[in-house]
Amino acid sequence: MTTTSEHVQEADTLSRRSGNRLVALVGRVRELGLLVVLLLIIVVVGVQVPEFLTLSNMVQILLSISILAIVAIGETLVILTRNVDLSVGSIVGFAAFVAANLFKQNPGTSLLLGILVGCALGLVLGVINGLIVTWGRVPAIVATLGTLYAYRGLEFLYAGGNQVSASDVPDSFLSLATAPFLGIPLLIWFAAVLALVFGYWLRASRTGRQLYAIGSNPDAARLAGIRSGLLVFGVFAISGLLSGFAGVLWGARFATVDATAASGLELQVIAAVVVGGVNIFGGSGEILGAMLGALVLGTIDNSLSFLRVSQFWLQAIDGAAILIAVTLDAFIKRWVQRLLITRRQR
């Protein structure tokens, strides 16, 4: 009798160990899949068009997604808590114009002040979103759809038909995006550092874990004593802040800014986040995934021009990428659940 139970225990430990591996693999399967897709694109396009593989083009791809990536970090936090921030494009545009216009009107403005003004504006707009969602209890999709309009409208009110162009702003402002540090443009560094900081914070801090809890089961989160309202408010504020910062960088990178800057960015951001495996209903996903999602979409966009595919295909392919990503997610999820169930039955 004792021997049997020992056997059982042994088998149990074994299956538990394999279980850990399974769970770990499942956790990574999305990121791994994206890496494979990324490599595939690079290899396929690289074989046909060798110029694609140049270092300068790689830098170009990273540059083209950096601003989007910074916004996607904030969006990931928001989506993890089972909310969504549709107003990011408007915040980016608003901050971009305000920052660039500040330099235009007062050429002597210090760079730091310009950045601070952009970030502060983003933070204020994010705080308003947060208040409407948490204090006003308006579903995030409704609240931020409203502020998507309202913020853009305010920007138009402020900007009128004015435009800031490259020659209006000091070179130091423009260098914020392009100046190289260790051979790589600053913009890429900003995105990479922010992604690492927030990615690590999500993984290693209690607050980060609580964001997952809120998205996974809001009611249970409240019962567990998590201050959901405060945290959700916080992620909207952070999303606003990061969008504000991204706006300043937008101004620096594109230099020509008017009131329409960054329109429609919200859809690209959400696409990157979703392709990156962040569950649109919260509770699971990682910053790393969202970054990979942005990278894959950016690489596809870039490679299309190398393959001399009409730019009209861009949007269609972006859309298809989202659909493929979520479809694969659905299949993976089914597969995992079946595995878990059969394991339980054993």
Partner: protein, 333 residues
């Protein structure tokens, strides 16, 4: 008495919208002397028809607990189909049928992805929003097809003879009446509400949830294509970028109309009222030459307050009653 109060509260949103609509009319009249002219109304509703048509099916879809963000892209795709089929020398009636069929097909794809694969409609239609618009651009590039026969373009801008009522508005009114009856009186309408409230319970009650959702998706595609045909006629030009970004406008109309974003609640009457509130506001502001983007401040704020307002009122009310209760119990002690 109690019943009356309940009825009132059930329709209070629509009542509020009626007040808003009257306010809009008063405001519009004070802003511009041209606002209350029949000619202005005629032009205004003419410009609203596409959004109005798409709002009808969007209402049904949101009540059923889903969403369709791809409507404007389907509109664009249908417009492009009108263009290329006409260019190819296919007779107009067949062009219209092809455009409607393509729209329905687009809706069917959305519906199949949602029902067969169990994907969230928000994400699916976000994807097809890009996909369908992209296809429209792939097919027609940024060209335009404009040489439609005048019988068709006259439908887009013409009025019922002897009146200032646009033909397209007549089309909308007929559709709206049909939708009101279907949603609020027919068995399928009841099933839509049941699904939006509790999908599982609806399934257990013998409702074919997936079929109904699929039907609604196809309907949404069909109506979006119809809106595309109307828009193509109205501006007598088939373009891939037609109605770019209208999806947000449509969703705003539906939500302001009191449809719960999580499904199960709201009425079409509210949506139609909201449509005219938003259309009237935009028109009034346009008449004093406020640009569309600044108009959007009003629209966005209205949308937020449509949910925020009642919430705040409720919180104040409950806080007051709590205080009254506390005061009362203190007296008892």
């Amino acid at each position: 008495m109690k019943l009356l109060r309940k009825q009132l509260s059930a329709w209070s949103w629509e009542a509020l919208l009626v007040v808003l609509l009257l306010l809009t009319i008063v405001l519009g009249n004070s802003l511009s002397p041209y606002f209350l002219t029949p000619f202005n109304f005629s032009l205004m509703v003419e410009g609203l028809v596409e959004i109005a048509i798409m709002s009808l099916s969007m209402t049904l879809i949101i009540i059923a607990g889903e969403i369709d963000l791809s409507v404007a892209s389907v509109l664009g795709l249908a417009s492009v189909m009108m263009g290329i089929t006409w260019n190819a020398g296919i007779p107009l009636w067949l062009d219209i049928i092809i455009a409607l069929a393509v729209g329905s097909l687009a809706g069917l794809v959305n519906g199949l992805l949602v029902t067969r694969l169990g994907l969230p409609s928000l994400v699916v239609t976000l994807g097809t929003l890009a996909l369908y618009r992209g296809l429209a651009f792939v097919i027609l590039g940024s060209q335009a097809v404009s040489d439609f026969p005048s019988a068709y373009t006259n439908f887009g801008i013409g009025d019922v003879p002897g009146t200032l009522i646009p033909w397209t508005f007549v089309l909308f009114v007929l559709l709206a009446l049909l939708f009101i009856v279907v949603l609020h009186r027919s068995w399928i309408g009841r099933q839509i509400y049941a699904i939006g409230n509790n999908k599982e319970a609806a399934r257990f009650a013998g409702i074919r949830v997936d079929q109904v959702k699929l039907l609604l998706s196809v309907l949404s595609g069909l109506l979006s294509a119809l809106a595309g045909i109307v828009l193509t006629a109205r501006i007598s030009s088939a373009r891939a970028d037609n109605a770019l970004g209208f999806e947000l406008f449509v969703v705003t109309v539906v939500l302001l109309g009191g449809i719960n974003i999580f499904g199960g609640r709201g009425s079409l009457v509210g949506v139609i009222l909201a449509l005219f509130v938003i259309g009237g506001l935009r028109n009034a502001l346009g008449l004093i030459n406020v640009s569309g983007d600044i108009q959007n401040i009003v629209i966005g704020t209205l949308l937020v307050f449509s949910v925020l307002g009642p919430n705040i009122a409720q919180r104040i009310q409950s806080a007051l009653s709590r205080r009254r209760l506390a005061a009362g119990s203190a007296k008892n002690v």
